[in-house]
């Protein structure tokens, strides 16, 4: 008996956010997606440490190496230390292509917390890497294989994640900021401000998204520095993104404005700022989070598509779209399929964000069944 009343009390006294969290926890798929995303962002934060090599380190003798496996068993039996095999190069008689054959006699054990090339992020500099390989200069460990220039794809995917994973977040942050402020202002004030904003949104939305993104990205000069290029792309992606949010926020504010609790606050002498920040925005927050979460994967896909077309992030900067540029040729599709590996990560991230957004959507309305 007591259990039931406790549970009942808990439901009645729980705040909106507690209820939302409780409902979200029930959705195991969304929860799992959230965990996977957290892990991916953590690894991205530590990308310099996790990656065995710098993204532009070239192994000139090792172009187009297929992904290498990590082994524990060799012909000589079990090894306590995981190792990779060395490679022997032969050439195809007809095409002259390199063919890599496993060298069963050369075993290179993995070294954990190995010292390697310098890397830094946010002011931390280090030479320490999660793993490396104890091998001659020309050899290395290539978990995802190497590209045309003999650069380690695993390291490049990790460094590319720095751009690909953050551009969606930053872009959505700008959209949310812009959309919320403008949406609240136009919904709360009404009048000419509202009219102006509505017309602006109408016009911006008359532009087709992808061609507009392409045209704007083409306007970024090719010689700008990396940070400028990064923020230009982010701004371009949020250029249209904020309109959806502004519309939604405005509609919600319009309906909330006539609620009694807002009137009560105004009667008690609350200023505009207090009404907006204390009463209106918390009322819309749930929906904002949902729309923002769903907008992130769209931006990630857009960035990779633009970079793939060489309109977004350009080499020497890397992002997953840039890495996939190599996949445009038929030879890659036929001989070097592993170069499409970044696509799997794009897919995984977008899938997780969509699941997460679905979970948030159900949880944002905790009072419904």
């Amino acid at each position: 008996m007591t259990d039931v009343t406790d549970a009942g009390n808990r439901d009645y006294t729980a705040g909106q956010w507690q209820l939302a969290w409780r409902k979200f926890k029930q959705n195991k798929v969304a929860l799992g997606a959230g965990v996977v995303l957290c892990l991916m962002y953590l690894v991205t934060l530590l990308s310099g440490f996790v990656a065995p090599y710098e993204p532009d380190r070239r192994f000139s003798e090792r172009p187009f190496v297929p992904p290498q496996g990590i082994h524990l068993w060799s012909e000589r039996g079990f090894h306590w230390r995981p190792f990779v095999y060395g490679l022997e190069v032969t050439f195809d008689d007809k095409t002259g292509r390199r063919i890599y054959v496993r060298d069963n006699t050369a075993l290179y054990p993995l070294q954990f917390f190995a010292s390697g090339g310098a890397h830094g992020m946010l002011g931390f500099n280090s030479r320490l890497h999660l793993f490396g390989v104890d091998a001659p200069e020309a050899e290395g460990v290539f978990l995802f294989g190497t590209d045309r220039q003999g650069r380690d794809l695993f390291s490049r995917v990790l460094y590319g994640a720095r751009v690909s994973l953050t551009i969606g977040l930053v872009g959505v942050f700008i959209s949310v900021l812009l959309g919320t402020v403008l949406g609240v202002v136009s919904g709360y004030l009404g009048g000419w401000a509202d009219e102006l904003l509505q017309r602006t949104i109408e016009i911006l939305r008359a532009f087709p998204q992808i061609p507009l993104w392409m045209a704007l990205s083409a306007a970024i000069p090719a010689d700008v520095d990396q940070l400028t290029a990064y923020f230009s792309i982010t701004l371009i992606l949020s250029f249209l993104g904020w309109t959806t949010l502004a519309r939604m926020v405005r509609g919600k504010v319009l309906s909330l404005r006539t609620e009694e609790y807002i009137l009560a606050a105004q009667l008690m002498g609350a200023g505009h700022a207090r009404v907006i920040f204390r009463h209106l925005i918390p009322g819309v927050m749930g929906q904002i989070i949902v729309i923002a979460t769903i907008a992130i994967p769209t931006m990630i896909l857009a960035e990779s598509s633009l970079s793939f077309l060489n309109l977004g992030i350009r080499p020497p900067m890397t992002s997953w779209g840039v890495l996939l540029q190599e996949g445009r040729s038929l030879t890659t599709l036929y001989f070097h399929q592993w170069l499409l590996m970044p696509a799997i990560f794009i897919f995984l991230v977008v899938l997780c964000f969509n699941f997460l957004g679905d979970g948030f959507r159900d949880a944002a309305d905790p009072y419904s069944e």
Partner: protein
């Protein structure tokens, strides 16, 4: 009659929007520093002779590139009104001709994708709604989710791989070599159809996922309505209840997005068309952006915006036709 008045009012309201759009388009196209002749000159930088310099200046004058921006804009918009969309520097041909000859295939591909989407999405949506939470529903929902998560260019790459290495087709393009420049004939049309299915499926894939979800949700809503219960209580055959009563209403959201879908498909197919090397407008636009062929890029962007506005209108009209409950005021 009220319908005609409504359409007319909407069309008139479009005019100021179009003016702003044309200005914005022009500004966006002008954003990259320099012009087409600068990029040509950069390529020819080694042979910077005086004669060439003068030749470029003459060309600039001929296309009003030496005038202030607002004058250039007026020349362009003035031309657009009488069907002269300017001149493509790279192709040395009028923009209207270039876009015109590729428009047919672009629309053919978009319509193909549209039909594909409808034929796949509606039956699946109905099935999913009727067998809610069954294994089939979960499997199809999961497939739809995957369809949403794979970038279009990747689907295009995979489709190209399948068509080349499994079916021995040609790598991209819409025609076999022998028909590339041949005049239209039955054989050429058949050849086109043989190539067309790849881009049609690829372009339609992402949209199909969204549409399946819409159809499923709409169908679920309708199935809860009382008139469906009434129809069942009367003893109507289930088939009759579903197709005559439920689907008839549940399909309305699909119709209302129909008008928006053609422009969305045209712009959505750009990247796919670039990857597959199709002779549609998308690759033309991409190339024009790269070479700063501004009138070509600008016209294409503006045409798409107009298409989107008209699509919006069409969506509202179609919805009104399909759903007699909607009134114009």
């Amino acid at each position: 009659m009220s319908m005609l008045r409504y359409i007319l009012r909407r069309l008139i309201r479009m005019v100021p929007t179009l003016i702003v759009i044309s200005i914005l388009t022009f500004v966006i196209i002008q954003l990259p520093p320099g012009d087409f002749f600068d990029s040509i000159q950069a390529q020819l930088a080694e042979s910077e002779s005086r004669a060439e310099q003068e030749a470029f200046d003459t060309l600039r004058k001929q296309y009003h590139l030496d005038q202030p921006l607002w004058k250039q804009y007026l020349y362009w918009v003035g031309g657009c009104l009488v069907g002269d969309f300017g001149y493509s520097f790279e192709w040395s041909r009028p923009v209207s001709e270039l876009i015109g000859e590729r428009l047919g295939l672009t629309f053919l591909m978009s319509f193909g994708a549209l039909i594909f989407m409808w034929c796949v999405a509606i039956p699946i949506g109905i099935y999913s709604a009727r067998n809610r939470l069954s294994f089939g529903d979960y499997a199809l929902t999961f497939l739809a989710f995957i369809g949403l998560c794979v970038p279009g260019f990747l689907v295009a790459l995979i489709a190209m791989h399948i068509s080349v290495f499994w079916f021995g087709g040609s790598a991209g393009g819409l025609f076999s070599h022998e028909y590339q420049y041949a005049p239209w004939s039955l054989a050429k049309a058949w050849d086109l159809l043989k190539h067309l299915w790849v881009p049609v499926v690829v372009v339609g894939a992402a949209g199909t996922a969204t549409m399946t979800r819409i159809m499923r949700t709409s169908m679920l809503d309708v199935m809860d309505e009382q008139y469906i219960t009434t129809a069942r209580a009367k003893g109507l055959a289930e088939r009759w209840v579903i197709y005559k009563y439920a689907v008839r209403v549940a399909i309305n959201p699909m119709i209302s997005i129909l008008g928006m879908q053609i422009p969305q498909l045209v712009s959505g197919s750009i990247i796919v068309a670039i990857v597959l090397g199709l002779p549609t407008t998308g690759p033309l636009f991409y190339r024009a952006l790269e070479t700063q062929d501004m009138y070509l890029a600008g016209t294409f962007l503006m045409l798409l915006a107009i298409l989107l506005l008209l699509g919006n209108l069409l969506a509202d009209i179609l919805l009104a036709l399909a759903d007699p409950r909607i009134r114009f005021d």
